[in-house]
Structures are given as C-alpha cells and as structure tokens.
Symmetry: C2
Subunit: 207 residues, 2 copies
C-alpha cells in the first residue's frame, strides 16, 4: 500500500522532457512568461514541480528550452524558403505559407519569440537574440531586395520596412490564433488574394 506517489513511473528523462516542453510551450505561448506558473504546468503535465526543476533548473531554463525548440523550427523554415528562388513579394508570400504550414498545429509557438514579459537578460536573452537574428537577417535581406526594385536603398527605410513586414507576419499569426477553424491552406489563399488585390488591382484602378 503506497503512502506516497513517489518513485519512478518508468518514463525515461528524454521522453518526460519532451512532454513537459509541449505543455510548457502551450502555457508560455498562450499566457506569456510572467503569467505562467510552474505549479500549473506541472499539474497539466501530470507530474510534480520539483521534477521540472530537476530537469530544467529554473523557470527561465524551461522557457529557454521552449524558445530554442520553437525558434529553431521557425527560423529553420524561413531559411529553407530563403534558399529558394523567390524574390520580392513572391518571397514574402512563400515565407508566410511556410509559417502557416509549420505552425499549423502549434500556432501559439509564434508568440514565444515576442514575449515582452520574459526577462531581457541572461540565458533567455541569448536564445531569443540567436533566433531573432536569424529571422531578422532574412527579413532584412528580403526587404532589401524588394525595395531595390523600387530604387530605394536608404538603410533606415529598409529598417522601417523590415519592422513593418515582421509586424504583418505577427498580426496574421495573431488573427490565425483567434480563428482556429481557419486552415493553413485557407490562410495561404487569403494572403495571396489580398496581396494581389492591393498590389495589382488597386494601383491600376486608383493609385
């Protein structure tokens, strides 16, 4: 007759870590770093708080691990698209499509990299800057190409436009999170239609 629930349950560390990461990523992505408490995460994962500390060291350590996984997934996909031959607007659309495809079942991951409630120093900052640098570099590259087509090579213009582009991606992801019934394919079509409407039809009709 067991008086406590202690003792191994036969789940190896690597597997348990993955399971904790999944639960924690959802919580962090949904509520943000500050508003997430580890007791809840532990309960949801069906384990106890000390086990999390055993495996990840601290709340920041856990967040950094979530961040690293999510950041690598996203930056990896963006890099993959960038190696393709699309240029200008087409490259933007393809990047968005790639994000929709990769994040379909885990849209909340997008928020992890932009969490303003996370500490801006220490291990977390390192992981964040590592991945955002990968992403920003490619966004900057794409925008530079795009604006070059219009003869604009002003560095600050490029910087502003890059920020705006990332803002567009961000808001589209937000909208997608708020509309769970919308599929990746539908988003894809919608975005393509909107870009076309704006850049072709409107300019020809009205300017």
């Amino acid at each position: 007759m067991a008086r406590t629930n202690a003792g191994t349950k036969g789940v190896p560390r690597a597997e348990r870590e993955q399971q904790i990461l999944a639960v924690a990523s959802l919580a962090f992505g949904t509520d943000g770093f500050a508003a997430t408490n580890l007791a809840d995460v532990a309960a949801e994962a069906g384990i106890s708080k000390p086990l999390i500390y055993n495996y990840f060291g601290s709340k920041e350590g856990l967040f950094a691990a979530c961040l690293d996984e999510a950041g690598d997934l996203m930056a990896g996909e963006i890099e993959r698209i960038a190696r393709g031959d699309a240029v200008g607007i087409e490259r933007g659309i393809r990047t968005l499509d790639g994000m929709f495809a990769v994040l379909d079942e885990q849209r909340h991951l997008w928020r992890l990299l932009h969490d303003r409630t996370a500490p801006s120093t220490g291990a977390i900052a390192d992981v964040v800057s590592h991945h955002t640098e990968r992403i920003d570099k490619l966004a900057h590259e794409g925008v530079t190409e795009l604006l070059a087509l219009a003869g604009d090579t002003d560095e600050r213009d490029i910087s502003v436009m890059t920020a705006a582009w990332l803002g567009i991606v961000d808001s589209l992801m937000d909208w997608w999170v708020a509309h769970p019934d919308e599929t990746a394919t539908q988003m894809n079509e919608r975005v393509t239609r909107l870009f076309t409407a704006l850049l072709v039809d409107i300019v020809r009709g009205d300017a």
Copy 2:
C-alpha cells in the same frame, strides 16, 4: 522638528493625479502592466504608495485611468482623420501622420492599449474594449473601402487585412520608440516614400 514626512505639501488632488498618471503611463507603457510595481511608480513621482491607492483605488484602477487618457487621445485623433475626405491608401497615410503628430512626445502611450499582461476582465477590459472598438471600427471601415476598390468584399478578407493594418501601425510605433532621434516629420516622409515605392514603382516594374 518634523518627525515624519506626513502632511500636505499643498498640491491639489487634480494636479497630483495628473502627475501620477504621467509617471504611471510611462512605466506601464514601457514595462507593461504586470512588470510595473506601484512602489517604484510612487517613488518616481516623489510620493508614497498609499496616496496612489487613495486616488486610484487599485493598480487596475490606475492602469484604467492611464488607458482612458491615452485611448481617448489616440481614438480621437483617428476619428478626426476619418472625418476628412481621404480614401484608400491616402487615408492610411494620413492616419499614420496623425498618430506620429499626436504621440510625438509620448510614444510609449501606444503600447497601453495592446498590453497583453493586463487583466482581460473587469474595469480594464471595459476601457480597453471601449477604445479599441472605436479604433477597430474606423480601421475596418478604411480597409473595407480600400478592398472595395479591388472588388474584394469577403468579410474574412477584410478582417485579416484590418488585423494586418493594425499590425503595421503597431510595428511602426515600435520602431519609432526604438529610434528616439527620428522626428514625426521624418516618419511621415519615410512612410509616404515607402508606400509609394511599394505600390507604384514595384508593381510597374516587376509585379
């Protein structure tokens, strides 16, 4: 010989409230609701914490007051622009110019309405939704007009595009906050130049 620092300093309530609001808005706008602590706000305002509670009731009450002031400033300006005769892209540019002008010396105010760390229920939620509804309504109206020029009247397309537009505004404000030396006039010119580059030069040259 004063043993305590208690006792009035001759500052009337209305004036003190304004002063607290200014300090609090900066703190909330910079660090977010959750990461702001009232002891610091009080210290920065040169008064003690209980005075804040005396005048605003609670942390949420203080935030709601900041929000109401900022929201009214921004929504008011957007409504003013909307009453003008600009349509389509031109309306978007004028709206941005208005925001740059109004927020020039207090760029952090923009963040207050989008603070994800603030409680999403109670008095704060009411104030937030009151102002965001004013703003969203006009954004939706402007986007509807714009997309109608391209023959797109799909309600979800309009919803996505509105989200993207607000995302653009958001990211431009962020960029502006991060570049304090950039004047409102410079932002104005930059945005106009970029819209022109994208919508005219690129489409004509490449599509």
